[in-house]
């Protein structure tokens, strides 16, 4: 079931990034840690039939591209750090909103909180690394032009017949 959950998470993330910002990504097998010093991260919590949170970590280079593409600004035109944080929060919000019906079924109602930025390499590492009693129900890595992006789904995730093959 974990594999199925990973499969759903990576499919929803790949599709969302492509549709939202023309970012093309591919699921990656590599299980090594990401370089959190050059990464940005955001998380969002949700409550409903089950509760949990979804976290995205993404290389800053990709985040700059993601933000430019969302805003439709030309190459070379700069986006601000505020815009980049906003873009990352909206991205995790969109992935989360699209993911939950695949797990819990289309009828389930969830409340999704306001997404938050996780600032600093240590905080990101703490948020995503396994610790006592805290392990993601699902985690996937995506390759984006040799840059990394990872997603971590935490919580007491119950598959309620919502998984679409």
């Amino acid at each position: 079931m974990n594999e199925k959950l990973n499969d759903i998470l990576s499919r929803v993330a790949v599709e969302s990034l492509e549709k939202l910002a023309f970012i093309f990504s591919f699921p990656e097998e590599d299980n090594g840690d990401m370089d959190y010093d050059s990464a940005a991260a955001a998380g969002v919590s949700f409550t409903g039939p089950f509760s949990g949170s979804l976290i995205i970590t993404i290389s800053r280079q990709v985040l700059v591209e993601l933000t430019s593409n969302m805003l439709g600004v030309n190459d070379g035109q700069e986006t601000t750090p505020d815009q980049q944080e906003d873009a990352l929060k909206e991205t995790i919000n969109i992935i989360c909103g699209n993911l939950l019906p695949f797990i819990a079924g289309e009828q389930a109602v969830f409340n999704i909180d306001t997404p938050e930025i996780i600032a600093g390499a240590d905080a990101i590492k703490n948020a995503v690394t396994d610790s006592d009693g805290r392990k993601p129900a699902s985690s996937v890595k995506l390759d984006i032009d040799d840059e990394q992006c990872a997603l971590f789904l935490f919580g007491d995730i119950q598959v309620v017949g919502g998984l679409v093959e």
Binding site: L20, M70, G97, N98, D113
Partner: protein
């Protein structure tokens, strides 16, 4: 004739994306206004003539569903066309919004779906092509 549009979303990047998409569609846009939550959206509706409200659901202070409830209870705005653009994926909640007279588009969206839905709601630009 042009349409005045209010865009309510807590993400400024998403508001810019929606505005850019509206401009791309060739719809006759008049004034456009932006608000970061439902309460700010209601304030903008009090202050300006608006033909279409585009509303997100998940927002701090006042969410989109509460904002729509306020609109429908207000004699002067109760017939305002509302388009919800949200990450919401729950059929139960989407149907509830549709019962409140709102159209629904899920994020991420394509420019075409925005164009066609706005044309459908406003009846504007239907003979353009």
């Amino acid at each position: 004739m042009s349409i005045n549009v209010l865009i309510v979303d807590d993400s400024s990047v998403m508001r810019a994306m929606i505005l850019k998409t509206l401009r791309m569609t060739g719809l006759p846009l008049g004034e456009t206004y932006q608000a970061a939550n439902g309460q700010e959206g209601l304030d903008a509706l009090e202050q300006h003539w608006i033909d279409l409200a585009i509303v997100d659901i998940n927002m701090p202070v006042m969410n989109g569903e509460e904002m729509i409830d306020h609109i429908r209870e207000n004699l002067e705005m109760k017939d305002l066309p509302v388009l919800v653009i949200s990450t919401e994926g729950s059929k139960t909640r989407i149907e509830r919004l549709q019962h409140k007279g709102a159209k629904f588009i899920q994020k991420p969206f394509s420019p075409e779906i925005i164009r066609d839905t706005v044309k459908g709601i406003t009846g504007i630009g239907a003979n353009d092509e």
